[in-house]
Symmetry: C2
DNA sequence: TCAAAAGTGTTCACCGTACACCCATGG
DNA sequence: CCATGGGTGTACGGTGAACACTTTTGA
């Protein structure tokens, strides 16, 4: 006979996703208008419930896919939120995940009731979702200094200036142009292309790509990413 | 009518605690012999189930208290583990916490089926608990470099050498005596006592205390702990 | 008097930071 | 020809790491 834990409480386990994007100047978050009670019609993170036959990572990816059509996205588990009355409808704990997506290459979100908000101009958001967002930003700030995940938020080809703007918007502070470029170049994990992006200036600025191959082989040789 | 989420799966939510202690030379973890099926009689982290009317922090403290009689302990949520078959008896997700306790001031554990193991000499442990432990050590290493939580693992009065041994055992590497003491002193958050500890040498070594008052007031003035 | 741990400063290399001017181009 | 953003290098101070000898005292 397989033993079981008979007298213990079973609880709803939700997964909520903080989806980050970057658009020219601003770090953004994708929110949806909730289409069910409670709080129907209010802005919310993308969420859903964990099913018996899937783990949290799978659930997070499923929910992200259902609500945006996006797949194969960088995600990381953030934290479990468990205040007893966090959801007024029913006792629910929620494990928050955050994801990084590239807004431009995004299959348009027209079919979804979702909208991008700058992290500096967020609307009112339900439940403890604001706390989740704060924690996600904090984690993201830490993470970008230890891993080259910023590139997840940019198109495949990007300019140094875009990369700098991205880091500035994540870290919430201005960075020195020369120091930033020196640091990035010293990492030696970018490929400088011959192409220029002409959309932002008359001179044009060179495009770069993240060299994942090189990065991985450097990692194997004891390289430590640090920004 | 209060809405609810009728068709969603409800799941058992466990809390498992990685309890760290420090004893002279070694970082240790408290394990118990499980007294129920499955895996009865095997070594396990201290765990229990989340109840409907408590949040995860409360549950973690309750479980720690039930199994050790200890209260008012430093704890931090670590991660949610959710592989579908992680517990063979029944679908369960587990939110891991880690705690720091001072072994010496410990009300003896004689009444509990618990035992301290050096992190370098762990026995076979059930389920995904080894993974939890690895993650806890990693988090602890990070945390001690950003917050003065090492003192949680030491008696109120301790010697510089003890403190250094503690950091060495957490970080898993030897540290230079002079550099370590210089760094600690430059933080200026310890009180040097007139007393000496005579138990470890003929000369005796001065005892110190963590000055929590001073640390907090420094924090308010923008001080950043960094070790 | 000797063994064993405690205590104490300085030097050097490297990294992070501050900082200003010329370039290329489209209008 | 000029306005706009792109691109480039150096100097300085501070921090982290290496390193060896003297002191104390119980046995």
């Amino acid at each position: 006979m397989i033993p079981s834990y008979n007298n213990e409480d079973k609880i709803l386990v939700a997964v909520d996703c903080i989806i980050f994007g970057f658009d020219k100047e601003d770090l953004k978050i994708l929110l949806i208008k909730r289409n069910f009670e409670p709080k129907k019609g209010h802005w919310s993170l993308m969420g859903g419930f964990l099913k018996k036959n899937e783990n949290l990572n799978v659930a997070a990816n499923r929910i992200l896919f259902q609500l945006t059509g996006l797949d194969d996205i960088y995600m990381e588990q953030l934290f479990a939120f468990s205040e007893v009355n966090r959801d007024p409808a029913e006792r629910t704990i929620s494990v928050a995940y955050y994801a990084l997506i590239n807004i431009k290459e995004d299959h348009s979100l027209d079919n979804f009731p979702a909208k991008w908000f700058s992290v500096n101009e967020l609307p009112e958001i339900i439940f403890d979702h604001p706390e989740m967002i704060q924690r996600a930003i904090k984690r993201l700030r830490y993470r970008v200094s230890k891993q080259p995940i910023g590139f997840e938020l940019l198109p495949t080809k990007f300019t140094m200036r875009q990369l700098q703007k991205l880091y500035e918007s994540i870290l919430g502070q201005k960075l020195d142009k020369r120091n930033f470029i020196n640091k990035i170049n010293s990492l030696d994990i970018l490929i400088k292309l011959k192409e220029k992006d002409m959309s932002s200036s008359r001179k044009g600025s060179f495009l770069y790509m993240f060299d994942e191959q090189k990065y991985k082989s450097k990692l194997e040789n004891g390289f430590i990413f640090k920004l």
